[in-house]
């Protein structure tokens, strides 16, 4: 399974867990799977039109990815990162 790390702002959805495990062949499919496990979580990361929200970045291992169709493997790690913005 792919590991997914989520920031503290999403821990209300995950019961306090910061590291999740999900199935899926792409980042989008992995997000779908964590949404099945934790309903509502994906919509906090991705808009209704499938775009990553403005202040969120997604890394696959060490690389920031733009396309949710990016393939992932069972030994990969997906990081959901909140931008350091706001006031």
């Amino acid at each position: 399974m792919t590991a997914v790390r989520v920031p503290s702002a999403l821990h209300d959805y995950t019961g306090g867990q910061s590291k999740l495990a999900a199935d899926g062949g792409t980042v989008d499919a992995v997000l779908d799977d964590i949404d099945r496990q934790f309903p509502g979580l994906k919509f906090r990361i991705v808009t209704e039109h499938g775009a990553v929200r403005r202040h969120i970045k997604i890394f696959l291992n060490q690389d920031m990815i733009e396309a949710l169709s990016t393939p992932v493997g069972p030994h990969d790690e997906v990081h959901v990162i909140l931008a350091l913005s706001g006031g």
Binding site: L10, G40, E48
Partner: protein, 385 residues
């Protein structure tokens, strides 16, 4: 009867203020409208645009929430704010059609319950301008496609440049208490629109309203109403505070009359909120701001005051007893002023500087009942029944 009870125009009734701020929600309660208890923050860190009690069951709260990072959602509480559940399907725009630019909900700005004839129906207005409807008490939200996918929507609303500094908004969703198919909406920008078929079709209702920022004479839409209200005493009486003045309309007329022309000329008739008396359709309150030059959006001259009319806007009285006399550079946003439904209604407002002010009766002394809150976005007053 104690002195306190004798002086209270809402004897034995608890008044509750639902306070939405940039950093969370708060609930203030009072049994005599003198001593107030302020709750701990609710959803601290979330931006709360509107917190509304369902008047039909007097129990359910709906809260429009977002953070800058996580996007918009709506929470529900059935125990007056002790516990909250997130909507299963928050408002979200449908896929675009005919090559239109896709719309993404940035935040939910306004919540309105429908009438007693539709006990589980709510409406939500969003930024950018979108209308959504829930038929199950706020659990699932559907796009009102008669507006959101109307072929004229982009013409009505303009683009990203046609809105407030923090995004164009749909607000002032009003459901006629006599006929729940009859709706009004306000948009900044876009103007005021009316539907008589549950939102399937819409007609602009902006005749007589100035739009000095549009280089078109008497445009049908594109106006900037800041706050539109229907009189609780007469559903055919509408008032609105606009970017360009204060107006009144008696339906079935369709031409607004600028009653703000009767305001003192050194104050003007620019502001955000519009608050109506619960039982007297001729009485209402506004809170003017400086709308000159670059639009400072603060109280004119740093001297805040409400203005009150008791004759439908033919004349206005300054109401500043108890308010700072100088150097108060805040203002009151469109949802941040309200009145309770007591016999002599209390009037309340929250400021951009996080102060909460209350007057126990119209024309009475203003008292600051809370300070150091985050920027206040909205206040709703509830009287326990």
């Amino acid at each position: 009867m104690s002195n306190t009870q004798a002086a209270n125009d809402c004897p034995w009734q608890r008044v509750t203020l639902l306070i939405s701020t940039r950093k969370g929600a708060f609930i203030a309660t009072s049994d005599d409208r003198r001593e107030w208890h302020l709750s701990q923050p609710i959803m601290l860190g979330h931006t709360i645009h509107h917190l509304v009690l369902d008047p039909r069951d007097q129990r359910t709260l709906l809260m429009a929430a977002s953070t800058g990072h996580l996007g918009p959602t709506i929470f529900r509480s059935h125990d007056f704010g002790v516990t909250w559940q997130e909507a299963h399907r928050p408002p979200a725009f449908p896929p675009p059609f005919d090559g239109q630019k896709p719309l993404t909900v940035n935040h939910v700005f306004w919540l309105t319950p429908s009438t007693v004839f539709e006990p589980d129906v709510w409406y939500a207005g969003t930024s950018p301008q979108g209308l959504f409807r829930s038929s199950d008490g706020g659990v699932n939200w559907d796009s009102v496609n008669g507006f959101n996918q109307n072929i004229n929507r982009s013409a009505w609303c303009g683009g990203d440049k046609d809105g407030t500094p923090d995004g164009p908004k749909m607000h002032s969703i009003i459901v006629d208490p006599r006929d729940n198919s009859h709706l009004y909406i306000g948009m900044s920008s876009g103007g005021i629109f009316e539907s008589t078929d549950w939102g399937n079709t819409w007609y602009p209702l902006n005749q007589g309203v100035a739009a000095e920022f549009i280089p078109i004479e008497n445009p049908l839409y594109g106006h900037d109403p800041h706050c539109v209200r229907m009189s609780p005493a007469d559903p055919d009486r509408l008032y609105h505070q606009n970017h360009c003045g204060i107006y009144r309309l008696d339906r079935p007329d369709t031409v607004w009359r600028r009653i703000g022309d009767n305001m003192p000329s050194d104050i003007g008739d620019i502001g955000f909120p519009m608050v109506l008396h619960p039982t007297d359709k001729e009485t209402c309150w506004v809170f003017p701001m400086d709308g000159t030059a670059v639009w400072p959006r603060v109280s004119p001259g740093g001297r805040p005051a409400a203005y009150m009319t008791s004759d439908g806007g033919d004349s206005w009285l300054r109401w500043d007893k108890g308010l700072p006399k100088k150097n108060a550079w805040w203002t009151v946003k469109r949802q941040a002023m309200t009145a309770d439904a007591c016999h002599k209604p209390g009037v309340y407002f929250g400021t951009t500087s996080g102060e909460l002010w209350a007057a126990r009766n119209p024309g009475g002394r203003w008292r600051c009942i809370a300070s150091h809150l985050p920027e206040i976005y909205a206040i709703e007053a509830v009287v326990a029944t």
